[in-house]
């Protein structure tokens, strides 16, 4: 069973304790200056945004079929069976394809570093495998960020929307977007207002499928194309050989 985070924006009070707990968990600096930053960066994996007195949290969505993991040439990113999409800094060569491919603009880069790393929320993989909640869910005073089984959280989100339809947009963001994500969001406002890509824009097709359609043909293409090229080579050179042999024969006959 895979784990997930449910973020209910209507329950969020904007205290930003999740930001602090996240920084502490990942050994990142956190003070008033960082707290005031309203953009995610290499040192700020998650951010609580405010628009018209309504709050919204942004963090890596932990896609069921992550684009970042599929594009990484060295497999530095991968989806664990528990749900988190984790990063192995040792493997990373720094091509930044993950950043370009991510539909949610989540991976960030240490541009100032001489040995830079890709940085993003990794859903506290150590805590999750140990059966604990993520740091952000644990500290959340209102339960706006809730950690649990993905299936159960989906049912719960549906139930909350059903009981209070006037409080929510009737949509669970992350249920089917790009094939589903391990972070689910329900809110009173449109998530697009907070910089999320519109559901219609990213669609429900898992991102790796776009390249998969081409990549899966390659194993067949290689032998076929090799035979074609080899065949053309053989035919055109055979013709030369025949022409040469005939020319020699002719010369021999004349002599």
């Amino acid at each position: 069973m895979s784990k997930a985070i449910l973020y209910d924006a209507t329950m969020c009070i904007g205290c930003k304790q999740c930001e602090g707990a996240c920084a502490q968990q990942n050994k990142l600096p956190y003070d008033d200056t960082v707290a005031a930053e309203s953009e995610q960066s290499a040192h700020k994996y998650t951010v609580v945004l405010t628009r018209n007195d309504k709050f919204m949290r942004r963090l890596c969505m932990h896609c069921q079929e992550p684009a970042c993991a599929s594009v990484c040439p060295v497999g530095a990113l991968h989806k664990t069976k528990e749900g988190p999409v984790v990063y192995d800094v040792w493997k990373c060569i720094g091509c930044r394809y993950c950043m370009v491919a991510c539909p949610f603009k989540q991976p960030k880069y240490e541009w100032g570093s001489l040995n830079p790393r890709v940085q993003k929320c990794v859903m506290c993989p150590d805590r999750v495998t140990a059966g604990k909640q993520t740091a952000c869910a644990e500290i959340c005073p209102t339960g706006a960020t809730k950690f649990g089984e993905r299936d159960e959280l989906i049912s719960e989100a549906k139930e909350r929307i059903r009981q209070n339809p006037s409080n929510y947009k009737p949509h669970i963001y992350g249920l089917n977007e790009v094939g589903g994500t391990s972070v689910l969001i329900i809110a009173a406002a449109d998530v697009e207002d907070y910089g999320f890509p519109a559901s219609a824009k990213i669609g429900e097709t898992p991102m790796p499928e776009y390249t998969g359609r081409v990549m899966e043909r390659i194993p067949d293409f290689i032998p076929v194309w090799t035979l074609v090229l080899g065949g053309i080579y053989w035919v055109s050179h055979r013709r030369d050989e025949v022409a040469l042999a005939e020319a020699q024969e002719k010369n021999g006959g004349n002599r």
């Binding site: 040439p73 060569i93 091509c95 930044r96 990549m215």
Partner: protein, 390 residues
């Protein structure tokens, strides 16, 4: 003559000095200081030009090898060696460019041990690595002839069919896969440039640019080294280029019609201006020019048409890599001077190495090139390309 050489040497030295300083900034101050790349714009000029365009500009190698050794277009024999040399240098410099762009270039060898077969980037990397090796072997006869080492030439001659087939197979794969890199960004890349047919476009443009670059470099080196231009060679290439451009144009037009973009293309917008520039340089100018027999028979005009083609497809790839993302990201990206400086340094290194190779190796000695092939060159079964030239 003496003055001209000195002039270009001064330019070269200036470019190299600035480039070395920029390299220092890149490696000792970091990518953030050396470039205008950001979290919003993680791929800049180095990916757009050095990588995407660099590989395209080096496509002449596999095009000429294919034309001569697969399709027996004997007339093109004299340009195979310079084309293979350009390709070999192009790929080496592509790797140099990559060492600047990668955040952790000292781990580039991880590509060989931590393979992710689902990644297009892995496929490109692997093909480029192998193809550079193939090009090295295709280039070796130059060195062996210079050293007059007959045994070595014999070895290469034995594996030549394998090199030819492998080289073209690998080129087909990675030239098209460079386009596949962008398939995973349907919501980010502007619809003018995002298309499911990107791999086909990238391969098609590689062939057209391969032909155009061969015309360009033949003319250019004829000028620079005071060699005789062989008109039949250029005429054949020009005809091939015309066909390649038409194929590219039809593919692109079909794609735009299929995706219902025609109206949007003719509506002025930021992206439309760049698209118009691209289409004018890639198709309008060279196709109009090459449609006239007079142009196809004139080295000077062929040269101009090939330059327009090359610039057009460079614009195309920069549009895909940079301009096509600006609306999605919401701001413009202009490379920092250090980015330009490093790109210029890499180009200058290419020219310098080409010059050195031509001076010290039998690149333009076509008589010896024939030794690798048939004992007696016989004009038979001309392929598609040679007909195109008629």
């Amino acid at each position: 003559m003496k003055f001209k050489l000195t002039f270009w040497r001064v330019i070269f030295i200036v470019i190299m000095v600035l480039g070395l300083y920029s390299s220092y900034v890149r490696y000792f101050r970091g990518l953030g200081t050396a470039t205008n790349m950001t979290d919003q714009f993680p791929w800049g000029l180095w990916i757009g030009f050095d990588c995407l365009c660099g590989v395209m500009l080096a496509a002449g190698g596999f095009c000429m090898v294919g034309a001569v050794y697969l399709f027996n277009v004997e007339r093109l024999h004299p340009v195979v060696r310079p084309a293979v040399l350009t390709a070999f240098l192009g790929y080496l410099l592509f790797i140099v460019g990559l060492l600047f762009d990668l955040g952790r270039p000292w781990f580039i060898w991880h590509q060989m041990i931590y393979m992710n077969p689902h990644s297009v980037m892995f496929e490109v990397g692997f093909c480029v690595m192998t193809y550079t090796t193939v090009l090295f072997f295709e280039f070796l006869p130059n060195v062996f002839e210079r050293l007059n080492w007959k045994t070595g030439i014999g070895w290469i001659k034995k594996i030549y069919p394998v090199l030819i087939v492998a080289g073209i197979l690998l080129s087909t794969l990675h030239q098209s896969s460079l386009g596949s890199l962008y398939l995973i960004m349907p919501s980010k890349l502007h619809p003018f440039w995002y298309s499911p047919a990107l791999p086909f476009f990238f391969f098609g443009s590689a062939v057209a640019v391969g032909l155009a670059m061969t015309i360009f470099e033949s003319t250019q080196s004829a000028k620079a080294f005071g060699r005789q231009l062989e008109l039949p060679v250029l005429v054949t290439l020009g005809g091939g280029l015309l066909v390649a451009l038409w194929v590219n144009l039809l593919l692109r037009a079909e794609d735009y019609i299929h995706r219902g973009l025609i109206r949007q293309i003719f509506t002025p917008s930021y992206e439309a201006y760049f698209l118009w520039l691209e289409l004018t340089l890639t198709f309008l100018i060279p196709i109009s020019m090459l449609s006239f027999r007079k142009v196809r028979m004139s080295p000077q005009l062929l040269y101009l048409a090939s330059i327009s083609t090359v610039l057009g497809f460079i614009t195309n790839r920069l549009n895909i890599a940079l301009i096509g993302f600006e609306t999605y990201i919401g701001h413009h990206y202009l490379p920092k001077w250090t980015e330009f400086s490093i790109t210029l340094m890499i180009i200058a290194m290419g020219f310098a190495l080409f010059g050195l190779a031509v001076r010290y190796l039998p690149i333009f000695q076509t008589e010896t090139a024939h030794q690798l092939e048939q004992p007696e060159p016989i004009e038979v079964g001309a392929g598609v390309l040679s007909h195109a030239g008629d």
